[in-house]
Symmetry: C2
């Protein structure tokens, strides 16, 4: 079995059709105009209505990917999930997804759930790639699912929510293949964002600390990535060597800061990616301690301005989905990647995409992809067409801030609850979408699939003979 | 970099010094004598006092392993944790462990937490092995930690608790190496044991269903394992080909049933591992449907009796720690493996150990190890000496059932709580043990290490500059 260019063969994405405009949220919250749209850099935010959750979204996206790329469920040898949205503290989301494979009789599918905040999807993806490259690989595909619903308590973090699920098929000869040798991680023990209040879906967040941790992790990963690259290739690495830089995107403003930070790193490393004019303008910051450099507003603003022309080329194409959907936690980075594929698929062949994954707590990795056109059905063009981003975004239903907040209130009561039925309102869901119908007195969750005619209920997700039904 | 015989190079184990005798628990609970000791097959149960938890146990075992095998923390390239004991729903246990590596400056350590009930440790171990065999491996060691505290609500499942942490160093040329090509998994969606009540540490358990699911998964994995073996080796596989059979051990009785079930499988597959006398005695069960076969008490009893002579040789050596400590969830299977290494290290060279990992929900895998003596410090003899099982078991402190129940009551209030200090009573803890001192008003957890003189407090686990301290 040939095993080169291991990476992402196919992608699909699902996000809820319900969303709220950040501008409307600003008005509702009585904050200054632009606080969310410019201050955070966000346009719109998707959220799960009472019939959707991370399990239903992942059922939807896995079934959709298998259908759209015409993959026999028997050909999946590994399936793993990255998520930080805990519905059950023991039973993995992966086990719910096994329902999709039940009919085919394929139960021999390795992998479980990986977890650390927004990083779990990257952990799952790296695990899956390693599996394909390992001696135990049996020639079948890996499938990675990132699924999250980001919701926040009333307060300044609330507009940084979002929700989505992304599925990625993994195997050799991929159009999006890993450059395995350069990847660099930075892992540390911090309390920047965490979920210790087990009864609540909301995290505890120290926004300022989290931003500093993110940038520190970015610096550490970038420096190690460059060192590994330089050791192997014998040439200096700079952002000039990356055609696109894709960042984990809790909100767009942090992505702008991150790219400027890489630019500042290149300046400090005396790279040719920074022109002489910029070098002169950054000179006043050369003696800052690294702690000072994270706090300097002048450096932040200055480097953003100087890097702006490169940001527009190398970063902006990745921001479409994260700006429109919001923070999707584990799915955020891959939604940003999907945005690049969707926007630029025709010109990506031979190019490099630099990726930065961050999960609070903290875990982070920088790695890179080499792109090639691929071959049907595993081509960049096919991925772009399956993603169908513009149409999906345009067909969404804009909800009022009031309705959004009512939904969050209801979900506060439903979180960890048993013995309730949902309203089963599927009117906004596209055909093929799974939705939650009820949670019984034993906390067991029941899902159904909306049929193609868009009205009647479709496939039930049975709980199987083993559940005593 | 050579990369053959990838597997477990070194092991260490920690379990709390506090335990309760099952016989005393029987008397306290007013149940019939033998209900726990013979009915469940358990001798004793370890539990965490208020100063210990899955984080402290994993800090203890990781530091201990690095010290006892003299491993430079810089040489760890991957660290991952399997656990189903959720203290935080976002921040991985792995990030707490990064404190141990902080001083060395090594932050480039991949891996996060894997989760699905008792299976997370196996997922972590397989991931780590795949990493070593992948193209991105950089020559450093992997480190896998299984850490769990199993506690149950008042009722019949309560005596099936336990607590422990196991650390395993992973790399090439290992004395305990994977036979990668035969491993077989069975994954499905069931509700046999799960933790949907997020505010409670206790699971929801359907004991009878879980036992059936376990045996069904065992059958499925064994049949697939045999098929893969036979396809590659060209010979029939039976339990005769395994020198030891090691099972996930929620309680010993299920292990007895499981081995008998493999024996029954061999009978149905007409293997020579089943002698003619046994074949005759099992004949009446040949036409049972598989569902009937799981429910038949006659088959269960009969096959156990017939397999007893093989159980004593192939299984009994693995039962030492699980019977003495109880269910350690993710650590249970590896505590059973550790028991074999401890009991039989001098005679294991060239032998095969068959492993069955099960996690409710459900995920399960059967795989096997080939053993060799290894080379210092990565030898079976060294592992046995580090494990030091007899001395560790004998130095435990037997607690009364009343005290055990009081501790569980206290922990019910502490679960997910903030703003409290523990009693900091370390009198029973061996030197080098980490323990919880307090949880502050922001839910941040503080640990210290008991020093070698056994009295004063030792290293603080700092929360680092990034936490704003």
């Amino acid at each position: 079995m040939e095993c080169k260019d291991v990476g992402i063969l196919a992608m699909d994405m699902y996000f809820p059709p319900t969303c709220v405009q950040q501008e409307a949220l600003e008005a509702h919250d009585g904050v200054s105009k632009g606080k969310y749209t410019i201050g955070l850099g966000q346009d719109c935010m998707a959220f799960c209505s009472e019939v959707e959750d991370v399990i239903s979204m992942s059922l939807t996206v896995v079934k959709s990917l298998l259908e759209k790329y015409n993959i026999d469920p028997k050909l999946i040898g590994r399936l793993e999930v990255g998520s930080e949205t805990v519905i059950d503290k023991s039973k993995s989301i992966k086990t719910w997804l096994m329902q999709i494979f039940e009919e085919s009789g394929n139960t021999d599918i390795e992998g479980v759930d990986s977890s650390n905040a927004c990083y779990g999807g990257t952990a799952a993806l790296l695990n899956c790639v390693n599996w394909v490259e390992s001696k135990c690989w049996d020639g079948r595909y890996g499938l990675v699912v990132c699924t999250d619903s980001a919701v926040y308590a009333d307060g300044p973090a609330r507009p940084t929510g979002g929700a989505a699920a992304i599925a990625m098929l993994v195997g050799p000869n991929a159009p999006i293949s890993f450059e395995s040798k350069y990847r660099a991680s930075h892992m540390a023990h911090v309390y920047d964002f965490y979920k210790p209040d087990l009864a609540s879906e909301y995290p505890v967040v120290d926004g300022k600390l989290s931003q500093t941790c993110y940038l520190m992790a970015l610096d550490s990963c970038y420096n190690q990535y460059c060192a590994k690259y330089e050791k192997l290739v014998g040439e200096k690495f700079s952002i000039s060597d990356a055609d696109y830089c894709v960042f984990h995107s809790p909100y767009n403003k942090l992505v702008q800061k991150s790219f400027a930070r890489l630019y500042f790193n290149d300046f400090m490393r005396n790279c040719s990616s920074v022109d002489n004019d910029a070098k002169e303008k950054l000179q006043p910051f050369v003696n800052l301690t690294s702690e000072e450099s994270y706090q300097s507003r002048d450096l932040e603003k200055g480097s953003q301005q100087l890097a702006k022309h490169l940001y527009d080329i190398k970063v902006q194409p990745s921001t479409l989905l994260p700006k429109q959907i919001g923070n999707m936690y584990t799915a955020s980075l891959y939604a940003a990647l999907a945005s690049v594929i969707y926007n630029k698929h025709a010109s990506l062949s031979g190019q490099r995409i630099l990726m930065f994954s961050y999960g609070s707590g903290l875990t982070s990795t920088m790695f890179s992809f080499r792109l090639n056109e691929g071959q049907h059905p595993f081509s960049l063009a096919k991925i772009a067409s399956v993603l169908d981003v513009t149409a999906k975004l345009e067909s969404r239903h804009e909800t009022s801030p009031q309705k959004f907040i009512e939904t969050l209130k209801l979900m506060e009561h439903r979180y960890g609850a048993k013995d309730f039925e949902t309203n089963k309102d599927t009117s906004l869901l596209p055909p093929g979408t799974f939705y939650l119908t009820k949670v019984d007195s034993m906390y067991r969750r029941f899902y159904e699939e909306k049929t193609a005619d868009g009205t009647a209920d479709g496939n039930k997700c049975s709980n199987g003979i083993a559940n005593g039904h």
